[in-house]
């Protein structure tokens, strides 16, 4: 019987399978950031242990950094909040103490850990990758087995080079056919979460396949794998193809010369065999996917731009009805209202889901020559890394955003989780390109609608959610 891509990655890193169903899996790369690593280093220190393999690790500050240029120019001293400053300083100190490579705050390569990793070639096909962040699933776009872990596991990987794991189930989501113009990887991701639910992938590694997935750019595939966790799956995967190899070959840490040839030969085997058997399969019809907008407080509470907010009486169970009523109350929405009647106050374009160069281009294409609507009180564009920022500026995209009345910020996680000063005020409504619309996620009492960068830009211009394809057609 053939093997799935996940089977291959699992078997090639299996150190030891135990009788109790757990296994020791060798970890090739651990990405570290300031929020989930301090307690792990502290544990290492208290136990008198040393890192198993220093070069397995690379660190970057991202969650808690300021995105304001003036504050960033002062380095750590510019971080006003003392608690945040101590956390950022602790990452620097721990990396210095254990000689772990760190890309510092104002290095041009600094950025959101899940943007920096692929961009630098720190994450490569075939690797096992972990990070104390659930969106580590992003790196599965390179056919790497990548998933989020807790801080105790960060410490475990630091100390042993391995992770204790149980093998997950194989789940394939195929998206077949041609994706309509204006519909992106983000819309596919949201449509899948809407289809299978936020717990649909629990216990599984999801391989994204089908012609529409193969047709996505690497950025689009990263967006898709990024949101595997929003469907409950720790890991998302896409098979290696020419596009993967082309992307990887242009990264600084990619192997070179003879080592590249050796790697390429191996990487080309990183796909599911044609006779591989999956525990579960779901097929989506790409031409039927419309731009998506979430209306509730869970990513599965999503519909197409042409849709409406559901009504409690349409729910099948009491728990679902109560969940819907609570969500509508929190979101300040009426049952049955058209999505296009929802008017955001804030626009956020950024996050590990949608802050790569392609995302910047997609938003700028909609915003070119336009102004954000009068009801929008704040519009933030936060590039995913210093290199994305530099590239966007070289293409003049920053000027398009600024001319539209938006703020062009420094790289970081920013308003996706609102650990820094970028957050919603109570009751504010945001069109956000991030990944979670949970209660309070973007700020205490804040209301989040998840969309693609193009849809966020369209909402910025119109002042309400609108089909980006209408905006683009009007332009032609």
């Amino acid at each position: 019987m053939g093997k799935t891509l996940y089977d291959k990655l699992w078997e090639s890193h299996l150190v030891e399978a135990r009788d109790d169903g757990t296994a020791l899996i060798y970890i090739d790369r651990q990405l570290l950031h300031e929020v989930t690593s301090p307690q792990a280093f502290e544990g290492l220190r208290l136990a008198g242990r040393q890192p198993w393999r220093i070069s397995a690790n690379i660190a970057v500050p991202d969650h808690n950094v300021s995105t304001k240029a003036k504050e960033r120019a002062q380095g750590l001293a510019g971080v006003k909040d003392q608690v945040s400053r101590i956390q950022l300083q602790t990452l620097d100190d721990n990396c210095a103490e254990y000689q772990i490579p760190e890309i510092p705050l104002n290095d041009v390569r600094q950025g959101i850990v899940h943007v920096m990793g692929p961009e630098q070639g720190a994450t490569l096909p075939g690797m096992t990758i972990v990070c104390g962040d659930s969106h580590t699933s992003t790196h599965g776009a390179m056919a790497a087995l990548a998933h989020g872990i807790g801080t105790s596991e960060v410490e475990h990987v630091l100390a042993t080079g391995c992770l204790i794991q149980r093998k997950m189930k194989n789940f394939r989501v195929s998206v077949e056919g041609e994706l309509p113009v204006g519909v992106t990887g983000k819309d596919i991701a949201l449509a899948i979460v809407g289809e299978i639910g936020t717990a649909g992938g629990t216990g599984c590694a999801i391989e994204f396949a089908g012609s529409a997935v193969r047709g996505l750019t690497m950025e689009g595939r990263m967006t898709l794998c990024n949101m595997a966790i929003e469907a409950g799956a720790r890991a998302g995967l896409v098979a290696v193809d020419d596009r993967t190899l082309r992307y990887v070959s242009q990264t600084p840490f990619a192997p070179r010369d003879a080592q590249w040839d050796q790697a390429e030969t191996y990487w080309r085997t990183l796909h599911s065999d044609t006779d591989a058997v999956f525990d579960r399969e779901v097929v989506l019809d790409a031409p039927a996917i419309q731009p998506q907008v979430t209306w509730g407080t869970s990513p599965e509470m999503v519909t197409a731009i042409s849709g409406r907010v559901p009504r409690p009486e349409e729910m099948e169970t009491d728990t679902a009805r109560q969940g819907l009523e609570r969500a509508l109350s929190y979101m300040g929405l009426e049952p049955g209202m058209p999505i296009t009647d929802i008017r955001p106050d804030v626009i956020f374009i950024g996050s590990c889901t949608n802050s790569r160069i392609e995302d910047m281009r997609a938003a700028a294409a909609v915003l070119k020559g336009k102004r954000v609507a009068a009801n929008i009180t704040q519009a933030l564009v936060v590039p995913g890394s210093g290199l994305v920022k530099k590239q966007a500026e070289a293409e003049g995209l920053d000027q398009i955003f600024k001319d539209a009345g938006m703020e062009w910020r420094e790289p970081g996680c920013s308003m996706c989780l609102a650990m820094n000063a970028d957050k919603l005020e109570p009751g504010q409504r945001c069109a956000s390109t991030s990944n979670r619309n949970f209660e309070g996620r973007q700020g205490f009492g804040g209301r989040t609608h998840l969309v693609s960068p193009a849809m966020a830009a369209a909402a910025a211009v119109a002042g309400h959610f609108t089909d980006v394809r209408d905006v683009m057609e009007a332009r032609l």
Binding site: E16, R166, Q259
Partner: protein
Amino acid sequence: MRAFQRLEGLVAPMDRANVDTDLIIPKQFLKSIRRTGFGPNLFDELRYLDEGQPDSDCSGRPLNTDFPLNFPRYEGASILLTRENFGCGSSREHAPWALDGAGFRAVIAPSFADIFRSNCFKNGLLPVVLEAERVEQLFAQMYETEGFSLVIDLEQQIIETPDGETISFETEDFGRNCLLKGLDDIGITLQNEAVIRDFERQHQARCPWVFETLEV
């Protein structure tokens, strides 16, 4: 790690599905570099009427008196009863740390999110999976009876109700053993140091590029 063998405790409700870790412990508290001190901020946005700040004293904050965990009848609860997909979202281990800090030693639900579940086992917090119907019955019994307590015996994998009924549950062997004995799993893994080194040598021969030093 603190061992978990047998627990007799008051049960408190978190009566909704898909409770995410942002709700369990909001992001502003993740600025802490410690593992402790999160208890007063468990479910912060539901428990209090104002916005909580890290390192601030919670004793004078306005309580949301509609939130069940603030009801006097649930004070001192150590078992949280909840619904499907508890702990979804962010991987933050601060979520089990906050539950632990607030006195919870076990969570009963029809299902848990993967990362949260794994984080529980590392922190002496027992996630118990029961059928949705069973959870529904426990909710009904708990609402009916003030002071509703359960006994959870991990060794035998059973829950005893006040009526003398016994409910079995299953946990994975490795996690259960670590919890029962309070074992540090890093120590267990390092007993296999030679096996890991051996694997590493073979892996390096196959994929040498993985082992290149990252010169930043």
